[in-house]
Symmetry: C2
Subunit: 401 residues, 2 copies
Amino acid sequence: MVQIKEGFGRLEHRYLFQEVGRRVAAFHEASPETDIIRMGIGDVTLPVVPPVARAMHEAVDDLAVQERFHGYGPEHGYEWLREAVVRGDYASRGIRVDTDEVFISDGAKSDLGNILDLFSAENIIGIPDPVYPVYVDTNVMDGRRIRYIPCREADAFMGEIPEEGLDVIYLCYPNNPTGAVITRDRLKAWVDYALRHGSLILYDSAYEAFIQDPDIPHSIYEIEGARDCAIEFRSFSKTAGFTGVRCGYTVVPKGIQGRIPGGGQLGLNALWERRQGCKFNGASYISQRGALAVYTPEGQAGIRENILYYLGNAAIIRDALVRAGLHASGGRNAPYVWARTPDGIDDWVFFDLLLHRAGVVVTPGSGFGAEGRACFRLTAFMDRARTVEAMERIEECIHGL
Amino acid sequence: MVQIKEGFGRLEHRYLFQEVGRRVAAFHEASPETDIIRMGIGDVTLPVVPPVARAMHEAVDDLAVQERFHGYGPEHGYEWLREAVVRGDYASRGIRVDTDEVFISDGAKSDLGNILDLFSAENIIGIPDPVYPVYVDTNVMDGRRIRYIPCREADAFMGEIPEEGLDVIYLCYPNNPTGAVITRDRLKAWVDYALRHGSLILYDSAYEAFIQDPDIPHSIYEIEGARDCAIEFRSFSKTAGFTGVRCGYTVVPKGIQGRIPGGGQLGLNALWERRQGCKFNGASYISQRGALAVYTPEGQAGIRENILYYLGNAAIIRDALVRAGLHASGGRNAPYVWARTPDGIDDWVFFDLLLHRAGVVVTPGSGFGAEGRACFRLTAFMDRARTVEAMERIEECIHGL
């Protein structure tokens, strides 16, 4: 019988959002009349902006006529999109990224999981706590050892730099789930740590577009030395409403090396190119045309407006939580607000309480790790009226406790 | 320094189609006036059919208005598409496949590579020879041992059933690269072998839509017992011109088990659900809407017409090769024609010869494995006029040898 990777036997039974979904479905069945507001899952609600829709219509038109038909695209993305990424997201900020260091994909979640294909099970992985749960699960599946990096509020959730040399370190800023950002100094400290220990940083920058504060770094490559130790993951999902369209990209600088167990080194850029060449056939032509339109002036203006709308929601959420007497953070340069439960009650208990008494779905903090206990996450992606209503219900519920 | 999987150090330097591309690019640079006809790579050229284009336009329209916006879809595909797959591809042929056994993805290449995430490096993998090269590379990367299963013309390329019990076996019918099909009896012999030895069959059925002969099985699940030992991979790429759209699906029956090294078993359906839940975020909503339209009566009529067009090309290719005195096979229920080189000359030498003298690109057989030496593959996906011209040039070139 085919042998399964041992790690699958060690996975926790249920993925956080599936458990949330299960509880919501059970509640909905029991109380079908309740109008549930889902402030839990981080999915956008605003439509794609007009130039993106136009570009995708044009792409479909191309596919429908023989003269302009597009079959397999380059596995690593069309050159015009890779160039637009370099120009729009890096060169415009004075950051060096080369076109052949940009790999277009169907999304950052795929890349963050699939990048692990390159690494042996022997590596020790540093994962922040609290954290996006798939960092943990994807490593557990492969049997890698994990060291948690506590990210505490006293330290602005920027992560305690470990004593020991870890092989791979995940960082995510603007952060999911805490909505925290990282200062340039702390990011430099992480890069210096990685260079000193020969660590690789996997920098998840899916929420970069939400950064408003001019002092916050937009890319890890703003830090000297990062081109030798960091891979950066970005996505159009939250930037441009592409959660259903599917497009993202990963930057693998040509300077980063890995060591082969028997001896010798290989460049990660070439390895990722090979991995994707064997296990991926390029992102949809339609999605890539849509992503290209994000970089037009009209596209940029449109997504900026949407991001400000979501950040407006985040301010409403934060203010309501504070009015309710809770301790809340995040939501200023990120679409997530993080808060402590009232009187430190268990976060799954508080989840059930808000679901049953207020009809509002939040995400329990312990689903993101031990440091998330007695905390919860709210997302700013709902429409304005629903956000206002959800927060009124939450305020009322908390006042009634 | 991060440790790379040992297998990456053992990969052959260059992926077949990259080497073909390199030689074509070099020739094009040296002889820019030559009108090169690419009969090598298996990419479609006919546009998507009108109902598919209409559905994708509607999907883009949905994404552009808030009321009909679609964000994250279910990771395993929309229920309406999973149901259409079950009805259209299985129930209509009297084959049992349940909706929750169908996993929609961005394409069969991704799934064929990613499925390996489930399996330990200890498994021994049986791979036909000649074969689609990524089966080999994706296993070499992970360090799995490979046993080649010779597929010889004397045996109609159906694969010699091994004596030993292999853990995983790849089968691909209609076959890439030989264009061969498998009889019901031989497929039953493979399923019986798998059940006897506890092997898992990975059945790549990307070219199923090209089957014309009523006696050829369309799915491995037509064979009794296959639900306990086989995963089937299908794609809309060649069926409906989706190579640029990106959509496919994988069927993982709930009966198939794998064993955990420490003891115990796990169902592969649940494991694949978990893997995809952690490393994939669903296929594009637009692509899934397009795929759904493939199952409408107008969609079915359109793709049937396209498939017959490609099979018409295949007949032209085969006939021309035979006229040129070569030994050719395939192309009757598959879009590939497989032929021996004239006088058994080396296939890369013949590749260069056809490229330089005829300006036609074919695929050298040895790129698919040792059994492909002194053979080459032609694809039927070009347009009719180009196919005719390519074959005239090839005939002339061979007559001039």
